[in-house]
């Protein structure tokens, strides 16, 4: 037991508990033994003394819930992970006094995890940021909203004048509603930059890139609920029991009723692994070798789904050349897994169907993240496990609305709904925004020629992806010539994003210090407020949580849910809509940007209604099927949650309001809301008509390659009038098929207007650009998928490593493998240099592995989320996890003389990094592997930074950040960081 205080504990339960468990084979108590007891009992502990009695008084001081009086029930969603649990708030006199289980929600059926069950505390908000603040000579000073907006706006305009629009970085949030996400993306466009990003960069950007490049869309193909149908499950780099606990309700139920095989492939024996039928321990960073090893057995034994591959997949012949190199001996040499284990997992996955593959950041946060994802997809395609119930790529997204924020284009390379940045995409959104293309163009910088790179006009600059959020500080610190835009990053405008979830925090700290302006808009100050030593030009804007505003959010399964405002924003906080509006006003483009919205009186200013923002998304989001989910339909779903089946997520067809719909109208929900498309529960499912949520793989990689067709063969969604593969629908295709006559006069008029009256341009108007929805409507009336019917591909010729190849992590414990499996060559991506190869070569040459012999990986805890400022400020959660820790294997600990619960130093190989944390000695990690959670901050390399937060806003629990010791390494496609495989050295601390 870690804290030997049981003799003086107030509650003193340790002894009795321990005794009562002796009969159950207890060997050691768990990490909860970090839990410290009552402040009265152990007075003087930093965490508790910081509570300063306020907590203890609150129970009496707060208006208690008057159970004798009626309470109003309001429904919203939990703001933490992507499962999308409904929260029912009981409100009396404008105060959220009680929380009730939402049994009617088909997603959570009343359930929560620790975070969801403590949601109400977010709006108590003892530690919330209470009013706008700025730093004056190093001290935090309270200011008014007017002063804050005015000064921030003036400084932004000054920076723009000097360094260009691209030098202001817009870092958005996966905590935004869809409407705020969309607004922030639009704000960035009107400001004139593609430097706009959010947490998807560091959680599933490689998933989106990898999956979209395989079969069309970058999202979870099925749903949490649908996993109840699976007979085999593989979790690889996913610890759902801690990261998505309510998903486990569906998973464990399904496991029990299906008697399913559940494999957990992970470096750690996670809490999810504890409920698996088999745990397979892998070496961090060897996913591709493991998957190719499985496919070797599958092809060797003929377990692949030949019919599926023939009809619906392109490229296996070519991909097999790489895959078949991974014979059992090589797999064992690289991964340590024996032939027997790999074969068993492979055979089960290929033959006990339907089988689903679940992954999270253990797969995505690597220099080979995109390649990992494509390897997982390849396994699914080889075994025919995509496109029907119980199977698919069940990608569990991280934050409450990281799916929606990604969909809304908070991405350096996209406009909303994955339109990309091509001129046609800008033209499309300019039509939706009702502004001339030339207006937006005028907002962008032109870029001078630098270091042999060509200059760019404003219009060309609009097409160039911005800098990923993982590199903003490099872009602030590097010579401006190294950054492929007018100047480096001079200002960070951060809405709802931590700084401790991105590696290389020493560099981030230097980056913060180098900025001319730092703006943090968040319910909490975050690490962006505390890590640096800035003295001025640093602002904090109190933003309310999603419980204090209206708006929709998209769960991991693509279902949209409408949350209603529970209470007015507390203290002086305000919602994102209003703050973005006021900033736009100060910056001079509010009239243009907001003219399409319904404006109402908000708390301090005018603000757009969430409904009118969603309607604008509906008007433009054709490419992703974000068009059918009107606010009215979403609200009807929330009213009728109990109508939806917990396995099929479908409402009975005869229901008057939501008949036949899938819950939350999971995208794509084609056509206009009036078309009543039910949404798509399972992507690419040819067993269901398109009008009922069916689909096919999306042909977005051309129609043929090297003379071979990329369209589906002998496969189409049931009820299709075209019984063959076909390309995406355009006006030309409708004309060719003679179906254009079915367009209404109004639809035709819209299409002709988009084509500018030119027959050639009109013919090119596609299902994504047609603002009338007519092309989609007619295609679906004929049982066809608007985006076409193509093949998925296992070779992505437009990406680095068209067929994924194993590459050792930059800091690898196997330097002997680097010559054979090196990281990719240095290059330039996303406006920045990527020198991973140089760093890897140097690490090998300097034998860094000898000095840093332990693999370091990272992950989540159930109590906290993301950077953790919000959850560590919630005393109900903070009490459960009061110390940052590092899991150290028992053998490693013994060799180093490290005791369970003792302080240790963890050293990293870059920037003399070191963190002081507690040791949790456990066999959960293998010898030679250490694990740290990534939710902590507020200590930095041994220094307690509590005093750097504005008074009263410091989180209850602080701790060192794992990302102080994580290292360089970026995926070449998306700029995803390497968060899961680096090296460290662990020593006992004095």
């Amino acid at each position: 037991m870690l804290i030997k205080r049981k003799n003086i504990q107030a509650s003193g339960t340790g002894g009795a508990l321990a005794q009562s468990f002796l009969g159950m084979g207890q060997r050691r108590l768990d990490r909860r033994s970090f839990l410290r007891r009552s402040g009265v009992a152990v007075g003087g502990l930093a965490a508790v003394s910081s509570l300063s009695g306020g907590l203890f008084q609150r129970a009496e001081a707060a208006t208690p819930h008057n159970h004798a009086a009626p309470a109003e029930r309001r429904k919203n969603m939990c703001t933490h992970c992507s499962v999308g649990c409904s929260v029912i708030a009981e409100v009396q006199n404008g105060v959220w006094v009680g929380q009730e289980p939402a049994f009617e929600s088909p997603i959570n059926r009343g359930s929560h995890c620790a975070k969801g069950a403590s949601s109400r505390e977010l709006v108590h908000g003892d530690r919330r940021l209470k009013y706008p603040m700025k730093k004056v000579g190093g001290d935090w000073v309270r200011i008014t909203w007017e002063q804050a907006i005015d000064e921030i706006g003036a400084k932004m305009l000054e920076i723009r004048e000097k360094s260009g629009a691209d030098s202001v970085y817009m870092l958005g949030s996966a905590k935004f509603t869809n409407e705020a996400s969309y607004l922030f993306r639009k704000f960035s466009a009107f400001w004139g930059t593609n430097n706009v990003d959010h947490q998807a960069r560091i959680c599933h950007s490689t998933t989106v890139a990898g999956v979209a490049n395989t079969w069309g869309y970058g999202a979870q193909t099925n749903s949490y609920n649908d996993i109840r149908n699976a007979k085999t499950l593989i979790f690889m780099g996913s610890n759902a029991a801690e990261a998505h606990p309510v998903a486990m309700q569906h998973i464990l139920s399904g496991k029990e009723t299906q008697r399913a095989n559940v494999f957990v492939l992970d470096p750690r024996m996670t809490r999810t692994a504890a409920h698996a039928t088999e745990f397979v321990r892998i070496r961090p960073g060897t996913d591709i070798a493991v998957i190719w090893g499985m496919l070797w057995h599958i092809f060797e034994n003929g377990w692949e789904d030949k019919d599926f591959i023939r009809k619906r997949v392109y490229g296996f012949d070519e991909a097999k050349a790489e895959i078949m190199k991974w014979n059992p001996a090589e797999v064992e040499r690289v991964t340590g897994l024996t032939e027997e284990v790999v074969k068993r997992v492979a055979q089960t996955f290929a033959t006990v169907k339907p089988a689903t593959f679940i992954w999270c950041m253990g797969g995505t946060q690597h220099t080979v993240g995109t390649a990992n994802v494509r390897a997982y997809c390849t396994l699914l395609l080889a075994t025919g496990n995509v496109g029907d119930i119980g199977m698919g790529a069940n990608i569990f997204r991280g934050h409450t609305n990281v799916q929606g924020a990604t969909d809304m284009g908070l991405d350096v390379g996209n406009l909303p709904c994955y339109y990309g940045l091509a001129p046609a995409a800008w033209a499309h959104w300019c039509r939706v925004w009702d502004v001339p293309f030339s207006y937006i163009e005028s907002r962008f910088d032109d870029v001078p020629a630098k270091q042999g790179r060509e200059a760019r006009t404003r219009a060309q600059n609009m097409e160039v992806s911005g800098i990923p959020s993982t590199r903003w500080f490099d872009a602030a610190l590097l010579d401006a010539d190294d950054v492929d835009q007018q100047d480096g990053i001079k200002a960070m405008v951060v809405f709802g994003h931590g700084a401790n979830t991105i590696p290389r925090m020493k560099a981030a700290q230097n980056g913060m210090n180098a900025l001319d302006l730092l703006v943090v808009a968040d319910p909490h100050p975050t690490t962006f407020a505390a890590l640096h030593t800035r003295t001025d030009n640093t602002y904090l804007l109190p933003i309310c949580t999603n419980f204090e505003c209206h708006g929709s959010r998209t769960a991991s399964n693509r279902s949209l849910q409408w949350g209603e405002k529970v209470v007015e924003p507390i203290f002086e906080s305000d919602n994102d809509y209003a703050v973005i509006y006021r900033l736009s006003q100060r910056l001079g483009f509010a009239d243009e940007m907001f003219k399409t919205f319904e404006m109402v009186d908000g708390k301090f200013s005018k603000e757009p209604t969430a409904e009118s923002i969603l309607r604008e998304v509906n008007r433009g989001g054709w490419s992703t099927g974000y068009t059918g989910q009107s606010p009215e339909r979403l609200k009807a779903h929330m009213r009728n949650q109990d109508k939806f089946d917990i396995i099929t997520l479908r409402a009975p067809k005869d229901d008057p309001e939501v008949g036949g719909d899938y819950y939350g109208l999971p995208w794509p929900c084609w056509g206009t809301p009036e078309m009543k498309h039910p949404g798509t529960h399972v992507l690419y499912n040819t067993n269901v008509p398109v009008a009922e949520g069916g689909g096919a793989f999306r042909p977005r990689f051309g129609l043929e390659r090297e003379g071979v067709s990329l369209l589906a063969e002998d496969s189409w969604p049931v009820g299709s009038d075209i019984e063959d593969g076909y390309p995406e629908f355009t006006m030309a295709l409708l004309q060719k098929l003679g179906w254009d006559s079915e367009l209404t006069a109004e639809e035709r008029a819209v299409i002709e207007k988009i084509g500018g009256g030119d027959p050639e341009k009109i013919a090119k108007v596609s299902w994504t650009l047609d603002l009338s929805g007519g092309i989609q409507r007619v295609a679906i009336a004929h049982g066809c998928v608007p985006f076409g019917n193509g093949k998925a591909r296992v070779i992505a010729w437009n990406l680095p490593d068209p067929v994924p190849v194993h590459r050792e992590p930059i800091y690898t414990p196997r330097p002997d493998l680097v010559a054979e499996y090196p990281t990719r060559e240095d290059g330039r991506q996303l406006r920045m240099p990527n020198i991973g190869h140089t760093i890897q070569a140097r690490a090998v040459e300097q034998k860094l592995f000898d000095q840093f012999p332990t693999v370091l990986t990272s992950g989540r805890l159930v109590e906290f989320e993301g950077g953790g400022e919000e959850t560590r400020s919630n005393p109900w959660l903070a009490e459960l996890q009061q110390d940052m820790f590092c899991e150290v294997n028992t053998k490693d600990a013994a060799a180093k003389g490290i005791k369970d619960g003792a302080w240790i130093w963890v050293y990293g190989p870059e920037e003399n990094a070191k963190v002081r944390v507690k040791a949790l000695v456990t066999d959960r990690v293998a010898p030679g592997v250490a694990f740290m959670p990534f939710h902590f901050a507020g200590w930095f390399m041994g220094e307690d930074q509590r005093g750097k937060y504005p008074q009263g806003t410091d989180p209850v629990v602080l701790g060192e950040s794992v990302n102080a010791v994580t290292t360089y390494g970026y995926d070449p496609v998306t700029g995803m960081h390497e968060g899961k495989a680096t090296l460290c050295r662990i020593e006992a601390a004095a």
């Binding site: 289980p101 069950a117 409920h275």
Partner: protein, 200 residues
């Protein structure tokens, strides 16, 4: 009359602690007092299992038997409650309790530990049902509102069950038959003098 019981299905418990924070939320339980907690055995090893624990509201509750001031009483629903006005904070009940349920706001080797606090099965105390006085001393009274304890209602995986003992035993029995395994109704023998027989 129903006999209310708790049952934690250790094969479902993922140690998410929803039960713990739901309890904090419902009753505004202060820092340091834990009416419910989750304990994990074989942490990080094969066979790791977790169990959510609180007062089990025992039949012939040992706490009541040792209380020198007789502050405990059992309701018609079989819930074991206590009267904080009578409690002298002696701590005897803590030593008697096989589940470590009783909690005290103060720690000291001598003198009173303050009024004992524990799980009420979300059914308040001797004060008038749903009164402010009841809420301040004991927390919410969900049973009086026709609801069950919030910890079980919010359990992420439906591991923790609360309700009439016969009904939750039947739910558990069906589950074990469906899935073919079950490590038993943890704590039932001690608390209720019985176990759930399952012929899987």
């Amino acid at each position: 009359m129903a006999r209310m019981k708790f049952l934690c299905d250790a094969d479902r418990c993922i140690e998410c602690n929803a039960c713990v924070t739901a309890c904090k939320n419902e009753h505004e339980v202060p820092w340091g007092i834990n009416r419910r907690r989750v304990v994990t055995i074989n942490d990080g090893l094969p066979g790791e299992r977790s169990v959510s624990m609180a007062c089990m509201h025992c039949t012939d509750a040992p706490c009541a038997q040792v209380c020198p001031v007789n502050c405990f009483y059992t309701t018609n629903d079989g819930v074991v409650l206590h009267n904080k006005d009578t409690c002298i904070g002696c701590g005897y009940c803590f030593y008697a309790c096989p589940f470590g349920a009783p909690q005290y706001p103060k720690a000291s080797n001598f003198g009173s530990r303050g009024k004992m606090d524990k799980c009420t099965y979300c059914s308040g105390g001797p004060e008038e049902d749903l009164s402010i006085a009841e809420y301040e001393k004991y927390g919410a009274n969900r049973l009086a509102e026709g609801k069950l304890p919030l910890c079980a209602e919010m359990c992420s995986t439906k591991s923790l069950l609360a309700g009439d003992g016969d009904i939750i035993a039947e739910i558990y029995r069906e589950r074990v038959v469906t899935r073919g395994y079950g490590s038993g109704a943890w704590g039932w023998k001690t608390a209720y003098g019985e176990t759930i027989n399952v012929s899987a």
